[in-house]
């Protein structure tokens, strides 16, 4: 800690001779620190720290709010020393001076805005009319409960100290670093799932273990937390390096890759078969919700991921499914109440969804992609208004919705929301069907037509693809898959109200597809698990109830972050990665394929390399079908 005052001076002196190798980059440290400072002040001002402060994750001293608070300087300290990758890629090793001094500077900078915040909070200024979340309790959190000048010092100590930890992390071997991060992640997640762990361990007859690890209705005890952290870090350290990177998978194509993703899918499916029996009803409930969103996301994946048509109103098909099921099965359906069984109504609903897909798609089928986006959004808005309207109240119940929807009869029993485990099995069944259909379609003739359509619509048409038909097929297939979600939803909840089908649902589905990886089935499934499982949908709670107020903020941030930093998603599809990293890929091809070039009859390797480099990249003008105007 003694070093905290020195970095600025030593950095100034050391920057004068300016060694060629990455020295202390004061400007970067200050810039990164400033961003961190704004970020910390921002999460404080929107009330995140306080909301999450009520959630103790490590008994007795760390709340979720603290974790977020501490994470900011930690990450900032880490980033302050990072050397931006050069044009040739690869990160050079960082010197200890650069890492630690940079981190210290960044730490000091991070503390700046929060310090101002504390001063304001302590003053007589009443800011709460403007910033309702700036409450006195916030100052308590930021100062770690210290009064007076000690408070500022505490803030500074936390920021600089954790920034230094972050800087130190930068000095460790990359494999170690990843393992540590993984360890922190796992322990954090474990700490947040006390109730789930209680049920799960209880079902396994390990209630005593739960008592040792957790405090009931709170978080993880600190000692087990440390032990688990060390354990998981060690395990991930050992396991690290075994996974193929996305880059490698990018080059791997065709059957081999398909086989791998299929194996992964099958293993997951097998796990899902056993899981519902072991975990408690909360996890089952959670996964039913996840499954519903998986279905919707798989549907949207066909439209957006495979065919490249941006559909911003995907909730339409969910709504058609749910309302269709409600009208057809509920005895309380106000207008037309045939009271069909669930299975009998299902094909009717799927057909209705297909019709809806055609209806939504047709008007804009010949227009550019962005018109499609706005029109699908418009249709979703229209449908939402129609369901809530007094005009159609005689059929859809208006604001009062449709209630008393019976469950799904399976054999002699009826499955509904009161039995999340059975519901989960049913949902898994439908998700598997949807996955199978998606997978089959992707590799088929129509799947190739979609891919061509996505790449270049005009050319696809010139090569004999009926683009109108292909587009409508995408809409129909996507709509049908998503209508399963609606049908299950109606049976699960037992009542449908218009507010379950708001526009935000469409956006959340889109985020799932994008975060997971457009056009990639496992990616989409993972996206749903991560986002819906943890954060929840617009009207559905996830694992972390506390996130409710910040859900859409996080979704928006994720969308921007993914688009800017990792547009191919968490689990990217090969095609998508190629598309978004063409330049890097070309570089790789240039380096990797030298051996191939020499035995190429074309010319010498060098010549071909020049030809390839001089050939203009063809993504810009062709990837989206039409030239930017």
């Amino acid at each position: 800690m003694a070093t905290t005052t020195t970095p600025t001076t030593s950095a100034a002196t050391s920057s004068a001779p300016a060694p060629a190798a990455p020295g202390v980059d004061v400007a970067r440290a200050v810039r990164v620190g400033a961003i961190g400072s704004v970020a910390l002040a921002f999460v404080a001002a929107i009330g995140m720290l306080q909301t999450f402060d009520n959630r103790v994750v490590f008994v007795p001293f760390l709340s979720l709010g603290d974790v977020i608070f501490f994470a900011v300087p930690l990450v900032t300290g880490y980033l302050a020393g990072v050397v931006p990758p050069g044009p040739m890629g690869g990160t050079p090793r960082v010197s200890a001076a650069r890492a630690l001094l940079g981190a210290a500077i960044a730490g000091v900078v991070v503390a700046a805005l929060p310090a101002v915040l504390i001063a304001t909070l302590r003053s007589d200024l009443d800011l709460r009319r403007t910033f309702p979340n700036l409450s006195p309790g916030l100052a308590q959190i930021l100062t770690l409960g210290q009064e007076g000048a000690a408070g500022y010092l505490a803030l500074l100590a936390v920021c600089v100290g954790l920034a230094l930890v972050g800087g130190a992390l930068l000095l460790t071997e990359e494999r170690m670093r990843r393992a540590v991060v993984r360890g922190v992640e796992i322990v954090l997640v474990l700490a947040l799932i006390e109730l789930i762990a209680r049920q799960f361990l209880g079902n396994l007859g390990l209630g005593a273990l739960h008592q040792r690890l957790y405090v009931t209705n709170s978080g993880l005890r600190w000692l087990p937390a440390v032990v688990l952290f060390v354990l998981f870090t060690a395990v991930s350290y050992v396991l690290a390096g075994r996974r193929a990177s996305a880059r490698e998978r990018m080059l791997r194509t065709g059957p081999e890759r398909q086989r791998r993703s299929l194996i992964v899918t099958l293993v997951l499916a097998a796990a899902l078969l056993v899981m519902p029996m072991l975990v408690g009803s909360i996890v089952n409930e959670l996964f039913v919700n996840v499954g519903l969103f998986m279905l919707m996301a798989l549907g949207l994946n066909i439209i957006v991921g495979y065919s490249g048509l941006l559909d911003l109103g995907h909730v339409t098909f969910f709504a058609v499914g749910a309302y269709g099921m409600a009208v057809l099965t509920s005895p309380a359906s106000p207008g037309f109440a045939p009271e069909l069984g669930w299975w009998l109504a299902l094909p009717i609903i799927v057909a209705m969804a297909a019709a809806a897909g055609i209806f939504v798609g047709t008007p804009v089928i010949r227009l550019r992609g962005d018109y499609l986006a706005i029109v699908t959004l418009g249709f979703a808005a229209i449908l939402e208004r129609l369901f809530i309207s007094d005009w159609l109240r005689p059929y859809f119940g208006g604001a009062q919705g449709i209630r008393r929807i019976p469950g799904v009869s399976v054999g002699a029993t009826t499955v509904s929301g009161t039995d999340p485990r059975a519901m989960l099995y049913l949902t898994i069944g439908f998700v598997l069907v949807a996955v199978y259909v998606s997978w089959r379609l992707q590799g088929s003739r129509i799947g190739r037509a979609w891919a061509a359509l996505r790449e270049d619509e005009t050319t696809a048409q010139a090569m004999g693809v009926d683009t109108t038909k292909a587009k409508l097929m995408a809409f129909v297939a996507g709509a049908m898959i998503s209508s399963f979600a609606g049908a299950l939803f109606a049976a699960k909840v037992g009542s449908v109200f218009p507010n379950s089908f708001e526009l935000l649902v469409s956006i959340v589905i889109l985020v799932i597809v994008i975060v997971g990886g457009m056009g990639h089935i496992p990616g989409v499934l993972l996206g749903a698990v991560v986002l819906i499982g943890i954060l929840g949908g617009p009207r559905l709670p996830g694992l972390l109830q506390e996130f409710q107020d910040y859900k859409m903020l996080i979704y928006g941030t994720l969308l921007v972050y993914m688009m800017l930093m990792k547009p191919e998603g968490l689990l990217p599809s090969v095609r998508r990665t190629r598309e978004l990293h063409q330049e890097e890929f070309l570089q790789d091809a240039w380096f990797d394929k030298k051996g191939h070039f020499t035995d190429d009859p074309d010319a010498t390797g060098a010549e071909v390399a020049v030809t390839e480099a001089s050939a203009p990249p063809i993504a810009g003008d062709a990837a989206d079908g039409t030239e930017p105007r």
């Binding site: 919700n289 209630r403 909840v493 109200f497």
Partner: protein, 453 residues
């Protein structure tokens, strides 16, 4: 290669088939061997179901809904399920806080502390209510629930909580279907173990109709709702009651949440020349209506009546709100005292201000306070301390006890009828004449409606 693909396909089919079989089979075995936990609860005694699930419980002598036992030193678990985020948080947050204050005031139950746990969010939606309720029922240490805020969430939540043998008391669900509609008939979404201190919408609709028809002598009315199940239910109840009295609702229409330009809807209303408009919607839409109706030709002199949703500072403070009538549950709590905790409404508001730094943002805090005392009192009455110092609450007895518990609460006499309507059902109409008065309880009452059974 080809072999493998074929193999994979076979595996997929086998997996799918086994899945279906397991799914079906599971349903059967669950019923036969009774190895499920919360879902078999309606009939089975849950304690024996999950061995080792919670070491602090043992299979006590149970009624037909089972029971919950707390060891010495443990806390009685109740849960709060309110709309605490999003656009309805203004309603749910005071409810939750009312519950918190009530628990603090009530103190220990037979020497056992009461714990609320992490507040749950009903998200003001059916799906949200169901998922949150699922979280509650999966924890069988929970004795009872206070919630939900929104009737839409209450429908699936009450069903789940009821089938888990638990009880729930809502402070602000007013939808008739949850208890009785019409009076004396079980509502379409009635569940055993569901109670509420909030009034039934039917009362309020009838109250407004009576006031308008008999006190003001108007026969031509307009009604505007905003697509919310609450406002929609209210305008429907009003329309029915008003028509029955002999009046006519000449235009029944709606706006959408988020609308700002009310001129079209007001023109539609003006075209039918009503004498008054019943517009029980929330701010900010009601603000826009108030600001814009005077400029619409033909509406300059109509009588405006809103409801409890608009009795908040954000609306009462604007000049255009002057002259509005408001219907709502009786809010003249000032002199009232909760006889169990011996807390007056005035003290409550002081406490609230002190603890949370603001005044309640909606009017149902008192209902929540009374709902909580009702639940705690009933628990207190049925809980039995065993020889080992543990406390056992019989779930069936708790339900019965709730029907018979009766006391004077902040909102008036609390007595539950056979459908779970426990509130007084007294509706007041107030006339807002001075926009500097933004506390609804300070606005003069011009009409009181007491439901006659």
């Amino acid at each position: 290669m080809r072999m493998l693909r074929k193999g994979v396909r076979t595996a997929a089919i086998v997996a799918a088939a086994s899945l279906v079989l397991t799914a079906c089979g599971n349903g059967d075995t669950a019923d036969l061997t009774d190895d499920t936990e919360a879902d078999a609860d309606a009939t089975g005694d849950e304690e024996t179901d999950d061995p080792g699930d919670d070491p602090d419980e043992d299979a006590a002598e149970a009624g037909d809904l089972g029971s919950v036992t707390y060891q010495e030193g443990e806390a009685i678990q109740i849960r709060s399920l309110e709309a605490i985020s999003g656009d309805v948080a203004f309603l749910g947050i005071p409810n939750q806080r009312g519950t918190e204050i009530a628990i603090a005031d009530y103190g220990d139950v037979q020497g056992f502390a009461v714990e609320l746990g992490t507040p749950l969010d009903d998200l003001c939606s059916a799906d949200g209510g169901q998922s949150a309720a699922q979280t509650i029922v999966s924890d069988d240490t929970v004795a009872g629930v206070i919630g939900t805020s929104c009737s839409g969430a209450g429908v699936p939540a009450s069903e789940l909580i009821s089938s888990a043998g638990m009880v729930m008391v809502s402070a602000s669900n007013t939808n008739p279907a949850l208890t009785q509609t019409p009076f004396g008939t079980e509502g379409e979404n009635f569940s055993e173990g569901y109670y509420r201190t909030a009034h039934n919408d039917l009362y309020q609709g009838a109250a407004v109709a009576e006031f308008v028809y008999e006190e003001l002598g108007l026969t031509q009315m307009a009604a505007i709702h905003d697509g919310d199940p609450y406002t929609d239910g209210l305008t429907t109840a009003f329309q029915d009651a008003f028509t029955e009295l002999g009046g006519e609702v000449v235009v029944y229409t709606a706006v959408n949440k988020g609308d700002t330009d009310m001129v079209p809807v007001l023109t539609e209303v003006a075209g039918e020349n009503p004498e008054g408009i019943f517009v029980p919607i929330f701010p900010p839409e009601v603000n826009r209506v108030a600001e814009q109706y005077v400029n619409v030709e033909g509406l300059e002199d109509v009588v405006m009546i809103s409801a409890d949703g608009a009795q908040v500072e954000g609306f009462l403070e604007i000049a255009e709100a002057e002259g509005f009538y408001f219907s709502g549950p009786s809010l003249q709590f000032e002199g009232n005292n909760n006889e169990i905790t011996d807390k007056s409404a005035t003290d409550f508001l002081e406490d609230y201000q002190e603890q949370y730094g603001e005044a309640p943002s909606a009017a149902f805090w008192a209902h929540a306070y009374d709902a909580t005392t009702l639940l705690l009192q009933a628990i207190d009455n049925v809980a039995e301390v065993g020889d080992d110092g543990s406390l056992t609450i019989d779930r069936a007895a708790l339900r019965d006890e709730l029907y018979s518990t009766s006391f004077q609460g902040l909102i008036g006499q609390i007595t539950c009828d056979e459908f779970g309507d426990c509130g007084a059902g007294e509706i007041q109409i107030i006339l807002h004449e001075d926009s500097s008065v933004t506390d609804a309880t300070q606005i003069p009452v011009v009409y009181t409606f007491v439901p006659s059974e």
